[in-house]
Symmetry: C2
Subunit: 135 residues, 2 copies
């Protein structure tokens, strides 16, 4: 299941991308508009700033704003930062690969094969959708 962290993060990014001008938007404004706990959203936006998606401005009139164009923000990178691995199991993950303890031979594993198909198709979607496609 998609975590609320990811859900809220995506909504916040979409909200920022839908703004006409690029003025900073306050946490409180985003939280209210998207019905998100303000404190929780605060930590999510912090993550998105540290990972290079958002910039921030302190003090009066401050807030968060997008650093890149929405069309240049791939859902694959956003999902990896907020949700973690795109693959459903580590043995088919590109960025978070890990071997299964119980599996002597991945190539002969039925679960591996099925989940590889799922990962491929999901990766395809995430790579071919940008923030601009969400709004």
């Amino acid at each position: 299941m998609l975590s609320k962290k990811t859900k809220y993060g995506l909504k916040a990014l979409a909200y920022l991308a839908s703004q006409e001008n690029k003025q900073p938007r306050q946490i409180s404004e985003i939280a209210e508009h998207e019905n998100i706990s303000q404190k929780f959203l605060e930590s999510i936006l912090l993550t998105l700033r540290k990972t290079g998606f958002l910039g921030s401005k302190k003090g009066k009139g401050g807030g968060y704003y997008l650093i890149k164009e929405p069309s240049e923000i791939s859902m694959a990178t956003v999902m990896r930062v907020l949700e973690g691995p795109i693959a459903m199991i580590a043995c088919v993950s590109l960025n978070f690969y890990e071997k299964c303890d119980d599996c002597p031979d991945e190539k002969a594993c039925s679960v591996n094969r099925l989940m590889l198909k799922v990962r491929d198709s999901n990766l395809d979607i995430y790579r071919n959708n940008t923030l601009a496609d969400l709004i």
Copy 2:
């Protein structure tokens, strides 16, 4: 992430499907062959029996066996029983639909749109793969 319950359940089904004859296979045999905790596997096989995938035979020479042909067992139904919803968020789920608390209008929701694409593609994979395709 895929739960170990689902992973083990799929492996057990695949193991049973790969057998030449249809004699019952003991829990201990499956557990050993697939490197699964026997007690944990026991509860999983019980679930699969109650949901109509497996039959069981008690007493000496007993065990579990497939009720249907592997080619008639869709991954979609298996996944729903073991893992739960195929959708990553309830508001795009066919079998486990729920409205989001925070979302006033699903049709206008960016997360909803993205996750709908993901669900469609995953559903497509699960519906078009049977147990026979795993072995």
